[in-house]
């Protein structure tokens, strides 16, 4: 590079970086594009050889089939389970996080115990829970899965919210106490509004974790509360003639997550790393 003016060298580097970056993005997005493309293809286009890379026209027949057969209701089940469990996990998790952050309840050991709950492999927990649920009659019920998802989200919510709450200046709470608020009012009127962006980010991830769950749903649902992830695997057969359904159902299950994440995108980097990076 000797002899090339400095600013030119920098520009070349920028162009090069831009090309590599675009190339990488294309590679990483391509599989998702392919999934969406299949969901709009006709059977003839799906099973064309060599493969065709885009559908000639957008047609929604593959989706219509899912709604006609009632399979699309599994997306509704996922929605109910994920949103209700996120709601409860946020309430119980946030107040528990407040207790840990402000009063050091249980010392450091309780915090470690709570986060270690999150690190257990689901399959090791799932089998004991299955036995327990059979005994309670909770298999294939909304309450069973909502309680499970709530409990499974709690360590994450507590961990994240503790970080956010610790950043709130203590003085605000003290002056509210002096002004005559009781402790619940301090929590409700001072702490929660201050931690609002943290609450949003944590709720999004809690929702996405439950939404994306497969193993618990596979084990603990049968027909009534089956989620879309389990429904997708039901189309895997010896023959691959359910491709249109696999693709359409996957897209139905993916769009709500894309929308949620797109709207709250700027909060998400910290949430994805479990609070490892402040920002």
């Amino acid at each position: 590079m000797k002899g090339v003016p400095f600013h030119r060298r920098k520009e070349t580097k920028l162009v090069l970086r831009y090309l590599i970056a675009t190339f990488l993005v294309v590679i990483f997005v391509f599989p998702i594009y392919w999934l969406f493309a299949i969901s709009f293809k006709t059977p003839g286009e799906i099973f064309a050889f060599p493969p065709v890379w885009y559908p000639k026209s957008i047609q929604f027949n593959n989706y219509a089939v899912l709604f006609k057969d009632g399979d699309a209701k599994t997306v509704g089940n996922s929605l109910v389970l994920s949103s209700v469990s996120t709601f409860f996990a946020m309430i119980f998790g946030t107040i528990a996080a407040y207790s840990l952050a402000r009063f050091k309840t249980g010392g450091e050991n309780l915090g470690v115990w709570i986060i270690s709950q999150r690190m257990m492999p689901p399959v090791a927990i799932a089998f004991p829970i299955f036995l327990f649920y059979v005994w309670l009659g909770w298999v294939d019920t909304y309450i069973g899965l909502i309680i499970l998802y709530t409990a499974f989200s709690l360590p994450y919510v507590i961990w994240m919210m503790r970080g956010y709450i610790e950043e709130i200046p203590l003085e605000l709470e003290e002056s509210a106490l002096i002004d005559g608020c009781n402790r619940w009012e301090v929590l409700w009127k001072v702490v929660l509004p201050m931690a609002r962006s943290g609450l949003f980010a944590t709720a999004v991830f809690t929702f996405v974790f439950s939404w994306n769950d497969f193993l618990f749903a596979l084990i603990l649902t049968r027909t009534e509360v089956m989620t879309y992830t389990v429904q997708v695997t039901h189309y895997f057969g010896g023959q691959s003639n359910f491709w249109s359904k696999i693709a359409a159902m996957s897209v139905l299950g993916t769009i709500p997550v894309f929308i949620t994440v797109a709207t709250l995108q700027r909060y998400l980097v910290r949430g994805i790393s479990m609070g490892a990076v402040k920002g």
Binding site: A21, L35, R102, T105, S116, I178, T229, F258
Partner: protein, 292 residues
């Protein structure tokens, strides 16, 4: 100061008790339940609940398929984790400086990480199809003739297939965390464009790496644990096949419990896994000072 730090005892326990109750209900109680079962000899056909001692735990040591499944899990982890880390780090450097449309490109890269692993597995199953998938088609362009590789069936190709899918889904996760970590390091140290190779490596080794190390180790811990319990992607791609070739510990536990209905034995496997992980995780958390 004193007022907020010394609440009445009821309040602080009141706040934390619903969470503790739920964690005990689905965390601790089923564990005790299954610990008891693991000392019995219950299967789908056998409902005798008399105690059988350590018979299931002894069987663990004679179960070749169990140890192979642990080996498969370790194999996937040992290959996928370093690739995700290095690729993620390289990509983080690439996106660190000013780049037109940076925000949009980073958001697009986030997509694989937020979709369900089961959908990721299903997607790659479609991509890997020997006849109607685009991967063999693309390889065919370079090879000059059609390539009918059976990615999810051929013993030589199933691991690459699983690892491709895994890397595709989780490299962006590493990338996002490392990008955030690098952004917090002093700009003059990370500006690779300004300095020559040798100085770049020296500043990386002695300044940047120590600065991002805490965050990086948490990312490695999170991904390591996720890889240890890998299930969904494999279930969607190969279901543990061909034969038992890609059976990981999670897949094997699932098959023992819900296909073979070896109730007591599965409980014992679950305990082996929990014991292994408890030791490792507790050590890692304390070691890394994550508790603080």
């Amino acid at each position: 100061m004193a007022a907020i730090a010394h609440p009445d005892r009821n309040f602080k326990y009141c706040l934390i008790s619903p969470a503790i109750f739920l964690l005990l209900l689905v965390g601790l109680f089923p564990l005790i339940f299954s610990l008891v079962v693991s000392f019995m000899r219950v299967t789908m056909l056998e409902t005798d609940t008399s105690f059988a001692g350590l018979v299931n735990y002894v069987q663990l040591f004679h179960d070749a398929r169990l140890w192979q499944s642990l080996l498969h899990t370790a194999l996937i982890m040992v290959i996928a984790l370093p690739i995700e880390l290095l690729l993620g780090l390289a990509m983080a450097y690439l996106f660190l400086d000013r780049l037109p449309g940076r925000q949009l490109l980073v958001s697009l890269l986030m997509l694989p990480t937020i979709i369900s692993p089961i959908v990721a597995g299903a997607t790659w199953r479609l991509l890997f199809d020997n006849r109607y998938g685009p991967i063999n088609q693309i390889i065919g362009w370079f090879a000059g003739h059609p390539v009918p590789a059976l990615w999810t069936v051929n013993p030589g190709l199933v691991y690459p297939a699983i690892i491709f899918c895994e890397i595709w889904q989780w490299t962006p996760f590493m990338f996002l965390i490392l990008l955030a970590a690098l952004s917090n390091v002093d700009r003059s140290l990370t500006e690779a464009a300004e300095i020559d190779g040798a100085r770049f490596w020296r500043s990386f080794r002695y300044v940047v790496l120590p600065a991002i190390f805490p965050v990086m180790s948490i990312a490695i811990l999170i991904r390591g644990l996720d890889l240890f319990r890998i299930f969904d992607i494999i279930w969607a791609l190969t279901a543990g096949g061909p034969g038992t070739m890609t059976e990981t510990i999670s897949v094997y536990t699932y098959i023992q419990g819900f296909r073979q209905f070896e109730t007591s034995y599965t409980a014992a496997i679950a305990f082996l896994v929990i014991a292994l992980l408890t030791v490792i995780v507790t050590w890692a958390i304390r070691r890394m000072g994550l508790a603080k």
